[in-house]
Each structure stands twice: as C-alpha cells, then as structure tokens.
Amino acid sequence: MDPFAVLGLEETADDEAVRAAYMRALRASPPDRDPEGFRRIREAYEALRDTESRLALRLFGPPPLANLEELLDAFPEERRYVGPGPWLNVLREPRR
C-alpha cells in the first residue's frame, strides 16, 4: 500500500537506496516462494524506481483504493493478552 513502507525506506530515499532496498526485499521474498510478497515489492519498486516516479507519487499520490476494506491490511492481526479484568467486565455488565 505504502511503497516506502513496503521497501522499508524513508521518503527521502534516492535511486540507489531504492534499488538496494528492492534487492534486499527480493532476497526475502523471491517470486517462486512468495509470489504475493514479490508482487507487492515489485509494485512498490515501480512506484519509487526513479526521481520522476517518486515526484509523481509525492504530488499526485497515493491513488485511492478501489475497495475501502483494503485499508484493513494496514491493521495487523493481533490477539493481545489483557488479563482477566476486561473479560470479566463484560460478564459483570448489567444486562440491558
């Protein structure tokens, strides 16, 4: 979604940094083992590969998502341990 985040880059990254981050990400997600990850990396790289692309992204990006529910990808799946309190609060709540 955010190409800088996908490649782990700062918004000030230059061509060389983008290329290096792309190669690094490719090693972590090669297309044969992680096709989905590779697709994301490739898209991020295409969006940042040269000054012109980065400028376009900065001035005319980001493109709107076709489906609003894609925004959910930004929130990682979490299952936090919160102790018994919040669970018991639900049980103790007066019935409405």
Binding site: M1, P63, L65, W87
Partner: protein, 816 residues
Amino acid sequence: MPKHKKQHRTGQRAQPPSGPGREAWPSRIESLLARGKSRDAVEAAKHYLKHTPGPEAEALAVKAYAARIEALQASGLHREAQAIGALVCERFPAHQGQVAVLMRQSEVAAGNFDALLVELATADTPRRRELEAVLARGLTDPAVLAESPVLPADHPLKRMARAVSDAFSAVTTGPLPAGALASLGAIPRHSLLAPWKLLIRAMDAFYRHDDAAVLANLSGIPADSGPARLVPVLRRLVGENGLPAERSPAVTALIEHVSGHRTVARTQLSQLSQALAAHDERKALAAVQALLPLFRAAPIALRRTFLISVLHHWHRQGLSPERLLRLLPSVKHDPDMLRLTALTLERGEWDTALAMWDGYLTAATATGLLSTTGPEMARVLLHMANLFPADPEAVLETLEVDSEQQLRRLIRTGQLPACFDRAALLERVRVADSVPQVYRALVAHYDQWGDPKRAEAEAEAWRRAHPQDLEPLLYLIRVAERRGAIRKALALLADAEALGRVHPEVRQSRFRLLLAGAERRIKEGKPALALDDLEQLAHEPRASEGDYPAYLLALRWIAVQQRGDTAVAAPLEQALTATAANPVLQGLILEALGTSLKVQVPPLSAAAATPGQVIDGLARACALFRALDRPLTVPAALLKRAEQHLDSASAAQLHALCTGGLWMGRPSLAYQAAGRGLALSDPLAYRFLLARGQALSASRAVDGEERARACLRVARELASRARDMDAVRAASAALDNLPEWAMFNALLTGMLSPPTETALTQAEIAHIIEHERQSRRTPQFPATSTPRKRRRSKPRRHRLPRELFEDIFAFFPFED
C-alpha cells in the same frame, strides 16, 4: 407519559371485581400473566384475594408475585425483586419455597452468593439442582466461589472453582505452557462450572489461533449460562458475525484491547462501504467518525491513503462532500488536504479541482513544501493545465462565459481566478521549468484555441529553447507544407535530418515533401523536373515500402504522358499494373492524382473487378492515401460493392476500411467493416469497437449516442488492458466529443449531482460486444460530413462553493 400517570392508569385497569363476574377473575389473572403483564396481574390478584380470600386466591397471588419478580430480574432490578420476594415470604409462608429460588437468583445477580451456598450445602437433590441452575446462570466470576467463606476448603465445588478461576486468569494473561489446562479435566460435563471450562478452552484456542476449536468450544456453552455473554464477543474476535452493531462500553473496550484496532477497523470499514453503497450519508459519516481516531495515529502515507480513498468513494457515490470535509482532520490551509481534495474533485469537476490545486500551490509555497520554480512546481502547473477539456467550447461552457475575450475580462477584473487562463498557466510552467512538455502543450493549446500563428511562434520558441528536439521541427515542416511553402519546409527538413536522418518521422516528412515537390512540378507543367524529383524519390528507402512504388509509378506515368513520350509511357503503364496488382487500387490512384494534378487519366473501371479485388484495392488505397496525407475520392458504386462484400475481407483489410472509412468521411463503411470485424473474434476487437463507436457518434440513430458511448467505453477499457495507448487516447477523445446527455438527464430526474461512471464489468463488456455483433442494420448517417457539433448547453451543476474550504479550514483549531 409520566410514570405516576402510567401507574394510575394501570391501577384503574385492575379495579376490584364486584358483584356478578367475580368468578371470572382467576381466568383474567391467568390471561394477564400469559400476556406478560405481571404488574397488572399482581394488582388484580391482590384485589381478588381481598374480596375472595382462600387458598385458591393465595396461590394465584403468589403466582402473580413470582411472575413479577421474574420480570424485575429480567430487567436487572434485582434489589426490587428481592424486596418483593421478602414481602411474599412474609405474607405467604406456606408458599415460601416457591419464591425462595427466585430470591436466590436475585441475590446471586446482586453479587450475594452466601445465602445460596449455605442452602446448597444442605439442600436435597431436587433443591440442589434448582440452586445449581441459579448459580450457573448468575455466576459471572468463578473467583466468587473459589474464595467464598461459606464453602469449606475441601468442598468439591470450591476446588473446581479455584481451578477454573486460576485457569481463567492464566489463559487471559499470557501464553500457556503445555498441559496448563489439565486441571479442568476434573470438571464433569454436568457441573455448573462446565460452561466455564468450555470458555477457557475456547480462549486458549483463540490465543493459539485455532479458530475452529474456538467455535467448537463456544458452541457447547448454554445460552443462559453465566459466561455465555462472552460467546458473541469471541466469535467476533475470530471474524464471525453475530455481535450487535450497538455494543456495550465493556464489549467495545474488550475488543479494542484484545485485537488492537483491527476488529473495529473491519467493522467500521464494512459499515462505511455498505452506507456508501446505500447512499446513507448519516451512517457513512458515523463510520468515518469512528475510523478517524484509528487513522490519526497511523503513518502519514496510510493516513493519506485513507483520506483519498474516502474522498474518492464519497465523490463516486455522488454524496455531497461538505459534511465529510467538516469531519476530516485538517489544519488551516493544510496543503495535503487541499491536494487530496483536488485529486478527488478533478475526476468530475475540473474547474473546482483547478481552484483547489491553485489553493494547494499557494499553501505549499507558503509553507516551503514547494519552491516557486523548479520541476515540482512545473509538474503541478502542467497537471493543472491538463485538467482543462480539450474542446475550448467545453471550457467556456463550464465557466459560463460566451467567449475567450469575456473569460479574459472576468479574470482580469478578478471575477474568476487567474488559474482559469490556461495559456497563462502554461506560461507559468515555462517560467518554473522550460521543459519540452510545456512547449508541446502551448503549441497544442494555441492550435486548439484557433490561433495557428501563435502555435507556430511557440513551436519556433520551442526549437530555440531545445535545439536538439525534433518535434518542433516536424511540426514546423508540416505547417510550412500545408501552407505550400515547400522551400521553407525543405530547409527545415535539412535541419531535422541533421538531428536524426533515420528517424521515421523525418524520413516520412522527407518522402512527403519530395512527393509534394514532384506533384507541384507536374501541376506547373514541368514534367522533366518532376521526373528528376521522382528519380530522387526512388532512392528513398520508403519508396519501396507498401504501395508507395505504385503511387510513384503512377506519378511517373502522368509526367511521361505530360511530356508526350508514349514509347516510355506504355511500359510504365504495364509496370504500374504489375506493381499495383489490383485494377481497383490502380484506378483509385490514377483518379486521385488526375483530380489533384488536374490532368486527364483513364476513368476507373471497377465493374470487371472481382469482389476480392474491390475489397483489397479499397483497403490498400485507404492505407496509402492516409499515410501520404492525400485526399482520396471513392466512387459511390465502388463503395457500395465493397460494403456488399465485406464478408470476404480479412481482419487487416477490415481495419484499413474502418480507419479509411472514418478518414474519408464514410462512416457507413466504417460501421459495416467494424461489425464484420467484431464477428471475426479478432484479438484487436477493441479497434473495431472504437471504429464502430466513432461511426455511431456521427449517426442519426435514436440510440446512436448511447451505443457509441458503450462501444467507446469498452474499446477504451480493452485497449487499456492491451496497453494500446493510441487506441485509449482515440477512445477518450471520441468520448469527450459526445454530448453529455447524462448531465441533462440528471437534471430532468431531479438529481443535483451528475451520475458517476462506474467501471465496466466483464459481463457488461461481453454483452456490449455481442450486441454490436448482432446489430447488422446500418443506421442513417448524414449525407455530408457536418462541422463538429457545438456542445449543448448543460444544466448548471451543483458546485462546491470555493469559499467552503476557507470556512472549513477556519472551523478547525490550529494544530500547526
């Protein structure tokens, strides 16, 4: 209604029975109880008991009181229920046992387990079961049993409750080691703590991400048991539905604590999508409001994606953006918000978007985000210039002015923002960064706005600024050629050749200019000079391509005829016949040259040609004359024959006939050739759809414009998928030239905002293609080509007031 009045009325309804009919009261009380009217039943039973004392009336009164106690318990009024229970026990000691269980339930619900546990220790089996059922329903924390002073330490219930309480704390606090829940195995299935055992196992499975086991364990928890209230919550946490949309604060807090923001985001995003699809602005605003805090803490890129996506979908659904913009986080003159809003609006309201972009530039330069010159500024300004419609009429119409002069006057007097002067915008681009794109845009702008001299001057300026660019030279060559200034064109060509002799456009220009030179010599009656030019032309690489050799031979034959050299003319004619290899093509070339050069040529005789020769000859002639930019006139009889025999044409021939038909101003030929092409299932079907759409837009058919729009949209979509950008541009340009009836219909149907164009589905694309394949009847076309239609006056659309954004930004407290 005030409470006291309500009570009074209720009392009135339960007046004491008197006289005959008193015997009907028991059934009346039963009826009230059956209908759930416990308060009225109690009032009626009290009066019945007063006037008809006896065991039957007493039993009925206790029954009514019990119903009332249950009703109060169901409403959570346990103290009130306990008070009534105590009263009943005191007044009707014989019925104490009937009310005692209910009393225990209220005690448990109020958090007082001691009395129940004391009784449980000595109760007989039936009574114990009743009490355990009460306990199972009311127990909301197993620690209450585990720490109860009433139960002895070795009481089995206390031991099991301790195990459950410990396991519950452990499972909610951190990852459990293997076998940590083994102690729960000692709790039998019929135990009142069995639902807790299932709940703890479900929670353990939840943290182990074993969602199937979560659901399996939850399904065993009775709905009326104490822990049952966590069942829908856990189901929601694993992505199942069933939790009511309106949640209690404790449930909301638990979900947020456990799942971070994901579950809330999922619910609200889903509600936002549904509300937008249903055009329910109130619900959509509520969902956005719930989502804002989640995105406020998100990284800037995500926040931007959220804002642009919400704005985009809002705009797409035709909802008014005012209230949304008031809701969105902003600071005064926040450049990013202005930019995102402009990007959204430019899809439908270019003029408002332009003003927003102008606001962005002001804000961005004021905050130092953009410098006043340089490539970034130029890029934004060029983007703004590209927002203007290509058709000047459309610009004037949108801005509600009659002429370019009036537009300039309104800008000069400050009644319209300066950014509405496109030429001035492009000048600003040139100042910011004089890139070739700006010159290209300036040349095109003055061409579109009917100022060829200014366009030429800009092309000259472009040439001076970028002397290595071929593009301005090629433009100037064509302008000189059209003016008949062949010498100037040749001089420019020499400059162009110095830059790139092998560039295809340069070679094409050279070929065209040499050809024009030879044709001019023939027109001037100088066949010898014409033959010299043709000799020179014969050495051009292009001279041997396609049907150029036939064209050159025809010119040479005409020059030789003009010179009166019959001995040379005869073999030349034979060579022309052999090279063209098609009498129709040969005839069309000679006839076209005869007309343009004003010389006598043998008349075209296509009658003897076979249908295949007619199709082939016409298709090749279309391609040749288009490439040479020379006029082609086709006799009506030949055209008719070609239209009758399109079934034998190949895909390539049909393509040539489509483009040639449109180019010659023969849309019926293009229409029919496109229909035949669609039947071939050619991979370039979108090209046929494009031609059909272009032909239909010139038709007089009732549904012509509608069909044209459908064809062009499908053509644009398929061409875009095939990355054929020429076809995409052609389809977009043709769509832009269609009258905007949708806007007119919107007014008729009372819609304030114009309908939005949604993406075509695969099924719609297939349907449109099939419909066009089936539509074989040629619609009527105007006899002669008409000048481009002036755009119809559009209804005034609902526009955002430009001041709105000032108001919005002023509305928020400053954060910067």
